[in-house]
Symmetry: C2
Subunit: 221 residues, 2 copies
């Protein structure tokens, strides 16, 4: 059985959601991001991204990490593309063109949307959304998301899904990246096709099940 | 013959280098980034990323774009992974594990190294490297590159190449992203394995040929 090192409050959500969609049994071994621990370097600290054992598995020092046979794979989005190809049936690509387009949209979302989205989420997480600086930062990042959101709006308005006219790993990868920016509620009001598509993605039973388990995981240790 | 829309002074370098490595004939149709033109919206402006004809091909409005049969593919790194799988022989993956690792390193470089590297290059391009603000920005971005460079140093010190113990598309994708930061000459002094690997990549005849053609292309129109 493939093993996933990570936690529900990390980018492992992407892989856990996909596994739920395709009925893949994935053993989750809990690894905490070091910043969530008071004393990550203490000898008895829970297994975390600075633990020697974890770093010997994955020198990148980031979660999630997938171990499947001899393969040790980091980068949540690469893990999803791999799992979908190998175990995903119709959630993976049917041909080389679909494979290329799934990679294209994954890279597009990771490079054009993840940075600004995370910045927006951090303003909210750290309680700065009501400060002038926080509002200014959100406005900047919303502006940065304008171009990619207009691209997505046009694409989803025509095709309904990211690739192949059906729900695939590309929808999961893009939806999970866009989720960060959702903490700014007015964001998607101007993008009805994106908004409807994202709500439909997040209404899926496999997303809901992942999301409920995530809510049960403590934020800080 | 596959057609690449782009220019030598754009991320199309990645695809043009790969094409040279594998002997792939690729027709280059010149598209300029709009910001390189004085009046990109003028009726007689050269074909550029705001031209209606280009936007109808690729609503993302960015170069490069590959057209191969029915496939219209954006995102230079996705284009390279596709070309390597389809036409690249040993520069592409030999199995699913290599395919996954090539995608992993591509995403790692795109998300952890491209942003800071481009910021460093822009400081130099716009002549701000001698100002206090410019020096401060470079210092910030060099710090941001520390973690990924340490990861690369460990990996290349052990394996010599990104994936499979041989030169592949993963080396091209990572080397091209790291190239932006090379404009800050002291950067790689602490990372001898990365430095040696990057110099070897850039000494390859296919890189040199691409680079010479790039130098011949005007920066501004």
């Amino acid at each position: 059985m493939p093993v996933l090192y990570g936690s529900y409050r990390s980018r492992a959500t992407r892989n856990l959601w996909l596994a739920g969609e395709i009925g893949l049994e994935l053993e989750l071994r809990q690894v905490w991001q070091a910043y969530r621990l008071d004393k990550p370097d203490a000898p008895d600290a829970p297994f975390n991204t600075r633990s020697r054992g974890f770093l010997s598995l994955s020198p990148m020092g980031a979660i999630p990490v997938l171990v499947d046979g001899d393969l040790v794979l980091a980068e949540s989005l690469a893990i999803n593309l791999y799992l979908a190809r190998r175990y995903g049936g119709d959630l993976g690509p049917r041909d080389e063109a679909e494979n290329a387009l799934m990679t294209q949209w994954t890279l597009f979302a990771a490079t054009a949307m993840e940075g600004p989205g995370l910045a927006i989420q951090n303003v909210h997480t750290y309680g700065r959304a009501d400060s002038e600086a926080g509002r200014g930062e959100i406005a900047d990042k919303v502006e940065a998301l304008g171009r990619p959101l207009r691209v997505l709006e046009g694409h989803l308005g025509r095709d309904g899904h990211m690739v192949g006219g059906r729900f695939t790993v590309a929808d999961i990868n893009v939806a999970e990246i866009l989720r960060y920016a959702q903490s700014h509620e007015p964001l998607l009001a101007e993008y009805p096709a994106v908004d409807g598509w994202l709500r439909a993605c997040q209404a899926r039973p496999a997303f809901r099940a992942m999301w409920d388990r995530r809510a049960a995981e403590p934020m800080w240790l």
